[in-house]
């Protein structure tokens, strides 16, 4: 990659940034955007010489001149189009975004549970919620990379969720991001903000899907979540982008005392998909649980970058990620657990299991620990392999063909993760997907 090919899109993007309408935004928001823009200007695009990106070559994204979408697209989608991803049949509150912008005509927000504000960020900033948003927006996102900086510079729309003190909706909330057959080489910029006040308990399902005819595109997503004392957030994310769709996402979560954050990531489709999940445990007795399943095939690249920082004592963290890799696909698992000097009595487990189904598939696993406190219990483990021959033989000796045996083993491998999901309609959907993918009976 030469300097000139890399510099081109950046100059272009900076130009687009300057042309963005101010939209009568408050001063503090303008400030966030402009600091994001200057950070973006200073930060080089990720490249494989950077340690964090050593195995994740996103040059195809960097080198493409993705034009940011600065307003809603004329997608003309109907509820019927969104049906494959929707949970509307369950009667759950659902907010839908198309190409990064709120689509009220597809959303079901009439009967919101008490204490829950589920809206588009754009609307929230324009209304009474702005005061809450100001307290949290861009407060947790760290200086991660050029794309997260760009995301701040481009803040326009995204999910805004606030659960008031002790709010505990009975049903999950669903946020759906759709990519329409929009112009090729466009980038949607999504900025989400989730605020859980003291004692609030929320299940949030986040789905990403693309409609037939979606071209080569990029979705750049940043989510910030703030969990007040005793709050509990279960965050399920299902990524199924178009074959030519790219997905770069960073979630930054801050946990206060006695809070719980469960992040369940399911990555199924997309040309290049990167899920960065960063958690800071800043209050005692907080707990985070990062669980993930990734299925990869063709020549796709999938990166799960997890980063947990234990700042205070008596916190627990757990990582369990499983991957199944076929064809010439490539996956990167990077788990990093930081334990600060003060964070005594930390309990942290990390496990990454990977199944390789072909000789051309590649997995790079980096389960890392950085520990500065002595009274801790930290473990990590990683395994990479294929279904053991002995087990396949066992199946065959009982009259189950090799192909079926392998399919069952693969399914069983994935099932452990799906089992962690306690929302039945979602479990069914995930199971259907996995079954369809690995079943020898088509």
């Amino acid at each position: 990659m030469t300097e000139s090919t890399q510099a081109q899109p950046k100059a272009h993007l900076l130009e687009a940034l300057r042309a963005l309408p101010a939209n009568g935004s408050p001063e503090w928001l303008k400030q966030i955007r402009s600091s994001g823009a200057s950070l973006f200007e200073q930060t080089p695009f990720p490249h494989t010489k950077m340690e964090e990106w050593r195995h994740t070559n996103i040059a195809p994204i960097v080198q493409t001149d993705y034009a940011p979408l600065t307003g809603p697209t004329a997608h003309g989608l109907t509820r019927e189009d969104a049906a494959p991803w929707s949970f509307a049949a369950q009667g759950w509150p659902e907010i839908v975004f198309v190409d990064g912008y709120f689509a009220p005509e597809l959303s079901s927000l009439d009967a919101l549970p008490e204490g829950v504000v589920l809206a588009s960020l754009h609307d929230a900033l324009a209304g009474p919620e702005a005061a809450h948003a100001e307290q949290h927006l861009n407060r947790y996102l760290r200086d991660r990379n050029a794309y997260t900086a760009l995301n701040s510079a481009l803040i326009q729309d995204g999910l805004y969720l606030r659960a008031a003190k002790n709010a505990a909706p009975e049903t999950p909330l669903h946020v759906l991001y759709l990519t329409s057959a929009r112009g090729a080489d466009t980038a949607a910029n999504v900025r989400n903000l989730v605020i859980l006040e003291q004692g609030a308990q929320v299940q949030l399902i986040e789905s990403h899907g693309a409609l037939p005819g979606a071209p080569q595109y990029l979705n750049n997503i940043v989510t910030e979540a703030a969990l007040a004392p005793n709050a509990r957030l279960e965050h399920y994310k299902v990524v199924s982008e178009a074959d030519a769709g790219n997905h770069l996402a960073t979630t930054e979560t801050r946990l206060d005392r006695d809070s719980y954050y469960g992040a369940f990531g399911f990555s199924f489709r997309g040309q290049i998909v990167r899920n960065q999940v960063c958690v800071r445990l800043e209050g005692e007795n907080a707990e985070c649980n990062l669980v993930g399943l990734y299925l990869n095939d063709r020549d796709r690249l999938l990166d799960n970058a997890l980063d947990i920082t234990h700042v205070v004592p008596h916190c627990r963290s757990r990582i369990l990620y499983k991957g199944i890799l076929g064809d010439a696909s490539k996956a990167v698992f990077a788990g990093k657990v930081h334990v600060h000097r003060e964070a005594q009595q930390t309990d942290s487990d990390q496990l990454s299991n990977n199944l390789l189904l072909s000789d051309t598939a590649t997995i790079d696993a980096k389960p890392q620990l950085e520990i500065y406190a002595d009274d801790v219990k930290c473990t990590h483990g990683a395994t990479i392999g294929s279904p053991p021959e002995e087990v396949v033989f066992y199946f065959r000796s009982r009259g189950i063909g090799e192909e079926m045996a392998r399919a069952m083993l693969t399914y069983g491998f994935a099932d452990e993760i799906v089992d962690e999901v306690e929302i039945e309609p979602l479990t069914e959907r995930l199971n259907d997907y996995i079954f369809e993918k690995y079943s020898p009976i088509r």
């Binding site: 997995i363 790079d364 389960p367 002595d374 990479i384």
Partner: protein, 498 residues
């Protein structure tokens, strides 16, 4: 305190390691670095700095053939183009490479034929180090190629080895006497431009050991070298080359001590092992260089490149290391598993105390079919030290049915130190498997309480727990080394426990 020779005997005659470790632990309280002194031997030292002339001068001084000079120059030019690596988790003031002197040799008019001719002061040096040569001959079944600073002084047991056709000498001698073998293998595992320190070593290496085991020969004794840095302000650049022909077998021991100094000393060694089909090479190291004082002042910079190539089928290379010394350790003994069914092993104990920093680990590169690698790494951090394991396991697409097992455990003593694990698993073959396990914890209160309730003092109890923690690695060390290693751990942890 006992010397190594006594501990040798203790180990041999009593054979009880537990007893030994307990005794050592009891004595640990008053131990200071006991090898801290300097022998005043006149030495001729090159002016500081490095340029083409210095490289030529070193080569000329050693009376090397033209090809060797050229080889060094090639390395020198590669070094000029390379940058010092900065990715390791260690922080230190970079050495000024222009202020270093790159050669020093004890003045010796001619090669000695018997012990009587050896400088008495030099002999006394070895005495203090615990390897009296005369006793070694009789006592241990070990041939010692003692390296004093850079030039090999004395070699024992040469005749026995010669009968088997084994060549064991200093690398300078090997360049003179066996140029065809050296020329063939030097740089074949660690090329001149491999990394910054390897390039520097290739350009200016002063001396080191050379071992050649012919086809089908099982070396009748463990080969051993004691290294010693002596001259103030000189880096020591050792170069070791071990070649095991088809079916050959050898155990190689390396042990190190250095005198106490205030200024940092640079050590950039290169070890190359070349194992042909069915050959087995076991390489054990106990490293106890000066680690600096309690305030982190002084200490050796240890930047070492060690690599073995299992070139033939069924070859086996095993690295065992106990690292307790040095202010900075940067060391990754690696195996290239090229031959089918070849085996690579890495057993390591790394202990850091005070302000020591260690970034150590291994690389296992699986290229051949059915290759196997095992990594067992135990790190112990105490005081204000930082200790990192950094390892790479790569299984290439053609390395079908390969296996790797990695276990890295860290023990933290005190809350001012850090333990870090940076494993990289890179697998491209579906019939292979790689497993990695790691844990970090402190010495368990329950274990300590159990010991104490049975009348074992805190210090002894901790010593026992630590020795137990390291047992998996010590089991792979030869007996003498295991005893010494146990003592070293106690010595290095002095003052930080209890």
């Amino acid at each position: 305190m006992t010397t190594t020779s006594e501990s040798l005997e203790t180990a041999k005659y009593k054979g009880s390691r537990v007893e030994e470790s307990n005794r050592a632990a009891a004595e640990a309280a008053n131990q200071k670095y006991k090898y801290g002194w300097e022998t005043l031997i006149e030495s001729d030292t090159m002016p500081p700095g490095l340029n083409e002339d210095i490289v030529r001068a070193i080569s000329a001084k050693k009376n090397e053939p033209e090809w060797m000079t050229e080889w060094r120059l090639k390395a020198y030019h590669a070094w000029r183009k390379l940058a010092e690596p900065t990715w390791a988790k260690v922080h230190y003031e970079q050495p000024d490479f222009e202020a270093l002197s790159y050669y020093s040799a004890p003045k010796q008019k001619e090669k000695k034929k018997s012990m009587d001719e050896v400088d008495p002061e030099l002999l006394a040096t070895f005495e203090k180090l615990g390897i009296p040569l005369d006793e070694q001959k009789r006592l241990a079944n070990v041939a010692v190629d003692a390296v004093f600073d850079s030039v090999s002084v004395m070699t024992t047991h040469k005749e026995i080895l010669a009968k088997k056709g084994i060549i064991f000498c200093s690398i300078s001698e090997a360049i003179q006497d066996h140029p065809e073998i050296v020329k063939k293998y030097i740089g074949s595992v660690v090329p001149q431009n491999d990394n910054f320190y390897a390039a520097l070593n290739s350009a200016v290496f002063s001396d080191g050991s050379f071992a050649y085991i012919p086809k089908g020969v099982k070396c009748p004794m463990d080969l051993s070298t004691y290294f010693r840095i002596n001259q103030g302000g000189t880096g020591q650049f050792e170069r070791t080359l071990i070649v095991a022909e088809e079916g050959a077998e050898v155990n190689y021991l390396e042990g190190c001590t250095a005198p106490m100094r205030d200024e940092h000393q640079l050590h950039a060694a290169v070890v190359e092992i070349y194992a042909h089909a069915n050959a087995t090479v076991r390489y054990s190291t106990v490293q106890n260089w000066y680690a600096g004082d309690e305030q982190g002042k002084g200490g050796v910079f240890n930047f070492v490149t060690k690599r073995g190539n299992c070139a033939g089928n069924n070859a086996r290379i095993s690295w065992t290391q106990v690292e307790t010394g040095s202010a900075i350790t940067w060391k990754y003994p690696s195996c290239i598993l090229k031959g089918d069914n070849s085996v690579g092993e890495f057993y390591s104990v790394a202990l850091t105390n005070n302000y020591q920093q260690a970034d150590t680990g291994t690389k296992m590169i699986h290229l051949g079919k059915n290759t196997k690698s095992t990594i067992i790494s135990k790190t112990i951090s105490a005081g204000h030290s930082d200790n990192s394991y950094r390892g790479l396991v790569r299984i290439n697409p053609k390395a079908s049915n390969s296996r790797n097992y990695t276990q890295c455990d860290s023990l933290l003593i005190g809350n001012q130190c850090g333990a870090h694990t940076f494993p990289y698993l890179d697998v491209r073959n579906s019939t292979s498997s790689a497993e990695h396990e790691a844990s970090t914890s402190k010495v368990s209160e329950d274990q300590l309480f159990y010991c104490q309730s049975r009348g074992i003092g805190t210090e002894d109890a901790i010593s026992m727990v630590i020795n137990g923690f390291c047992k998996e690695v010590f089991d792979h060390l030869p007996m003498e080394f295991a005893v010494e290693a146990t003592k070293l751990l106690d010595l290095s942890l002095e003052g930080s426990v209890g």
